[in-house]
């Protein structure tokens, strides 16, 4: 069975500072990897995904994540956060060729302070 671990449940960070959210997964088969974001009082939105190809993927709002197969990690980073990045972030996986169901980590709540 696969599992996803997000090591930090909460990350306070000052505006314009960098942030890194850690995600590790365990799976005996190849996976697709995702980061979802849930802004206050809103639904889950896909932030970025790794399916194949370049191991570094980027979102339109400045986040990036790197797939590291040897460390089974998919950490999310942003070099300079904004107040509007305050949200909960979920790492997730899909097992390749095993259906399209997502397995989520426990989430990391990011609070950006002025």
């Amino acid at each position: 069975a696969q599992s996803v671990t997000q090591l930090d449940s909460q990350v306070p960070v000052f505006e314009e500072a960098p942030v890194e959210l850690r995600c590790n997964y365990s799976s005996s088969v190849s996976v697709y990897l995702f980061w979802y974001v849930q802004y206050p009082n809103q639904g889950l939105q896909l932030l970025l995904k790794y399916l194949s190809g370049s191991t570094l993927v980027e979102s339109i709002n400045g986040f990036e994540a790197e797939f590291n197969k040897s460390q089974t990690s998919f950490h999310l980073r942003k070099p300079s956060v904004h107040i509007s990045d305050t949200a909960e972030y979920f790492c997730a996986v899909i097992l390749k060729a095993a259906g399209n169901k997502l397995t989520f980590g426990g989430g990391t709540r990011v609070l950006v302070k002025p």
């Binding site: 809103q42 639904g43 896909l46 259906g99 169901k101 397995t103 989520f104 980590g105």
Partner: protein, 115 residues
């Protein structure tokens, strides 16, 4: 276009009662998923429909939970004899079915509170 909608947005019920939660997927999406998000946790998979049939119901916690999608569009999640531990946000997502990976689009969720 319209996204995934879920009704009701909030449902409060008493222990032992029966509840139905509804999901309207994005028009044309053949796949539909239900997840449950308990307080302080990530969403957990419950069941996945491909058309009218349940392709994977391995996440349903017990036989009090049942879901249907009779016409391949709207889906209803049914919970019998509700328990306090069923309190959670129930999320629905839909996706097209065009290849090995299809992006899931999530609805706003139904917050279920069992008193």
């Amino acid at each position: 276009g319209a996204g995934v909608s879920q009704t009701p947005s909030n449902k409060v019920t008493e222990k032992g009662k029966y509840v139905e939660l509804r999901c309207d997927p994005i028009s044309g999406h053949t796949a539909l998923y239900w997840y449950r998000q308990s307080l302080g946790q990530g969403p957990e998979f419950l069941i996945y429909f491909q058309g009218t049939g349940a392709a994977d119901d391995s996440g349903l916690p017990n036989d009090r939970f049942f879901a249907v999608r009779p016409e391949g569009s709207v889906s209803t999640l049914k919970i019998q004899r509700t328990e306090r531990g069923d309190s959670a946000v129930y999320l629905c997502a839909s996706s097209p079915d065009r290849g090995e990976y299809n992006e899931q689009f999530f609805g706003p969720g139904t917050r279920l509170t069992v008193l």
